[in-house]
């Protein structure tokens, strides 16, 4: 218990993400369950956070929205961070030379794009096509829940985030690999005939975990913010699927904020808590895992 702050952060993250994961069992109401007699209700036992303009329970909506945040951020960090970022960083750092050049140029290209713009363009233009594709898959496999589950828009969102987010992790991994490459135990491993794969996964990766842990934690905050932003602009997860961005877009607008500030305060608080916790955790991890810091 030497770091109470970190513990608090972890608790917050676990609570919010946990709620998101068990949303179908936890949320008392559906995301879109309207109750027209009870619009803009004040907090009560029945509706601990009150209701919105259609009488929908704000607590439930928040829980469902957390689910979206969990799905998108985890999917994005796994594909973008882990799969793309780490492999690219490993390859560039270890192989060096040509491979390194090519990968870093690619990273430059992806990073040089005004990210939000491209993501906007991608989701605006590709979503109908992805839905068509999903429908084709539905026809082929007979699984008719694909489109209605919102999978196409989720996929597009975390896909876009992953494609534009991998460069950061890749650079960090590459740096680390570059410096580790000269370490005696690596040279020894190579001398004793160990194959590249073995070296990468058995020797290098474990030394990257600390770094990755920190990097991932800090990225999660950014990813959550990005998802909220995209949905707010209308190009992220599509209604009726839940998202904090959607809740915020309904609460924004001066007249709304004036008359019903709770519509923004509820999702806003959850997001700020989540992002703060990730950032806090990231900082604490940096302190702990970095040998130079006391």
């Amino acid at each position: 218990m030497r770091r109470p702050v970190a513990v608090v952060a972890i608790i917050i993250i676990v609570v919010i993400y946990g709620a998101g994961i068990v949303a179908p069992w936890l949320a008392p109401y559906g995301f879109n369950e309207a109750d027209f007699q009870n619009r803009y209700a004040s907090p009560s036992l029945e509706h601990p956070l009150g209701t919105d303009n259609l009488g929908r329970d704000l607590l439930s909506r928040s829980i469902w929205s957390a689910q979206t945040t969990v799905i998108v951020s985890l999917a994005a960090i796994l594909t973008g961070g882990l799969v793309l970022g780490v492999s690219a960083g490993l390859a560039a750092g270890y192989a060096g030379g040509r491979t390194d050049s090519v990968i870093m140029r690619a990273a430059d290209t992806f990073a040089s794009v005004p990210t939000i713009l491209l993501v906007l363009i991608i989701t605006a233009t590709l979503l109908p096509r992805v839905i068509d594709l999903a429908r084709d898959v539905e026809d082929l496999t007979g699984a008719d829940w694909i489109v209605s589950s919102g999978a196409p828009s989720y996929f597009l969102v975390f896909g876009a985030l992953a494609i534009f987010g991998w460069t950061g992790i890749a650079r960090v991994v590459r740096s680390q690999v570059l410096s580790l490459r000269q370490e005696p135990y690596i040279t020894a491993a190579r001398a004793s005939g160990a194959g590249t794969t073995r070296i990468l996964f058995v020797h290098l990766m474990p030394n990257l975990t600390n770094l990755l842990l920190v990097a991932f934690t800090l990225s999660m905050g950014a990813l959550a913010t990005a998802e909220v932003g995209l949905t707010f602009l209308g190009i992220g997860v599509q209604p009726p699927h839940p998202s904090f961005g959607l809740m915020i877009s309904e609460g924004v607008g001066l007249s709304n904020v004036r008359e019903h500030p709770i519509l923004i305060i509820v999702p806003g608080t959850f997001i700020v808590l989540l992002v703060m916790s990730f950032n806090l955790l990231g900082d604490q991890l940096t302190d702990v895992l970095s040998p130079r810091h006391r």
């Binding site: 005004p114 713009l117 906007l120 605006a124 650079r171 932003g229 602009l233 992002v275 703060m276 810091h293």
Partner: protein, 326 residues
Amino acid sequence: MPAGLATYIIRRLLLLPLILFIVSFATFALGRYAPVDYVEIQAGPRAQPETIERIREERGLNDPVPVQYVRYMGNALTGDFGISTRYQGFPVADVILPRLWITMQYNIVVLVLTFSIGLPLGTWAALRRGTWQDPLSIGVFLLFASVPVLISIPLLQWLFSVQLGVLPSGGWSEAEYLGVEFGLFSKHAILPILALTLPGVAGVARYMRGQVMEVLDQDFVRTANAKGLKASTVVTRHVARNALLPIVTILGFELAALIGGSIFIETLLGIPGIGLLAFESIKTRDYDTIMAIVLIGSTVFILTMLVIDVVYGFIDPRIRVEGSMS
């Protein structure tokens, strides 16, 4: 200029067209790949399909994408960035430039404020390690850095425009100085600058604090301390220089991310800047405007990165040898 540096710069400059090509072609192709184009959107519910098809054909929208791309880029190289369809019939350059001017105004101020306040603030926080001010400052920085603009702006609007009534709820001023529109020195600029500076300063301060602390722990600093040098000398001479370098990278990234970030601010506050234009252009499939904005954004980024790298290369010759700054 040392020969190594010159070749380095040239090598980097040569990459610029390649990257621009990839980015622009990808954007162009994506835009054209959308199922509905601007003719159809603008025609609305009343027009006949044959009319739409005829106009589409005449505008060259049915030509193969590479052909259209070459045509566009050919024009762009001569300075003709096409014609807007959102503001039907007006050259894209005429539409973009005034908006870019506005976005730049408040963003430059934000950048300057962010670094001029954030750097000293972060240094100060690092030096307070061990006192009660340390966790307090960490907490404050963290809080401000974690509140997305989406949330801070409606709250700021509510506070300053509605409750206190001292700031306008949005828009941009038309004040002119010496014949040039310069809305920066007006109440309209306060909300966007405030909303962007708070998280900006917090972020930079956090980062700077980390950097400074890292340097403070290094041996040579402790040696200097042991030698009896004054704390301020130690800080300025050793700490600042070493901690400063990575900050330069951040500056570059911030500068380059201007356009993307401004989308949210301008949508929420109704500021007629380039972010809002980008958003509207995408919705209305104003291809030429989108392309121009993406090209500008990418070019600014790449040039900024180049400048940063050159500066790095100048400071630290080791990096030049390694080939690139990650």
